[in-house]
Amino acid sequence: MQLARVTGTVVATVKYPGLEGIKLLIVQPLDRHGEPKGRQVVAADGVAMAGPGELVYIVGAREAAQALPETFVPVDHAIVGIVDAVEPVAGT
C-alpha cells in the first residue's frame, strides 16, 4: 500500500456492472515524505468516506477490487483507509 492525496472526484454515469454507486476519486500517489510521486490515478473509494484533500492509503492491482462490496469488478486502485497520522517510530 502507498500513501496518496485525494485531489478530485470523477463522475461516470455509464460503468461496468457492479461499479454502480462506487465513488471514484483522483489521487496523487506520494513518496514517504509526502511529496507527489508519479502520475495521478483514479481510485475507487473502498471506505466510502474519503474526500478531496485527505491523506489516504491505496492498494493497487487485483487487491483493489476486494475493497469493494462487489469484489469481481474492473478496478485497479482503491482507497482502503484514511490516514490520521504518520508517526515516526522512536529511534529512527
Binding site: M1, R32, Y57, A61, E63, T71, E87, P88
Partner: protein
C-alpha cells in the same frame, strides 16, 4: 519477499475492515546491504516489529489474506519476519 526497514506507523481510524485493530507500518525498502532503494510500502505487522528493525515484507495478496484469515480483503503487504542478519559471502 523484500527487505525493508521500519520507519513509521500509520494511524488510521477509518479503514477497510481487514485493518481494524492491526498495526500498519511504513517501511523503506532496502537492498541487501541495508541501503534504502527509495521505494516504500505500508504493510500490516503480524510479528511485532519495532523501531528501525530490518524486516521481511511479503507483497502478494493471496498469501497475505491467508495470514490475516480474511477473504476477500484488500490487503497485499505484510511484515512477516524480523531480519537478524544478511550475509553476502564475497565472490557471490
Amino acid at each position: 519477499m523484500k527487505l525493508a526497514r521500519v520507519t513509521a506507523t500509520v494511524v488510521s481510524t477509518i479503514c477497510a475492515p481487514v485493518f481494524d485493530g492491526r498495526r500498519l507500518l511504513l517501511c523503506d525498502i532496502v537492498d541487501p546491504s541495508g541501503e534504502p532503494t527509495g521505494d516504500y510500502v505500508i504493510a500490516v505487522d503480524v510479528v511485532d516489529a519495532g523501531a528501525g528493525e530490518t524486516v521481511l515484507i511479503l507483497d502478494e495478496g493471496t498469501g497475505a489474506r491467508q495470514i490475516v484469515e480474511m477473504s476477500p480483503a484488500p490487503i497485499r503487504a505484510v511484515v512477516v519476519g524480523i531480519v537478524d542478519q544478511v550475509e553476502e559471502p564475497a565472490g557471490t
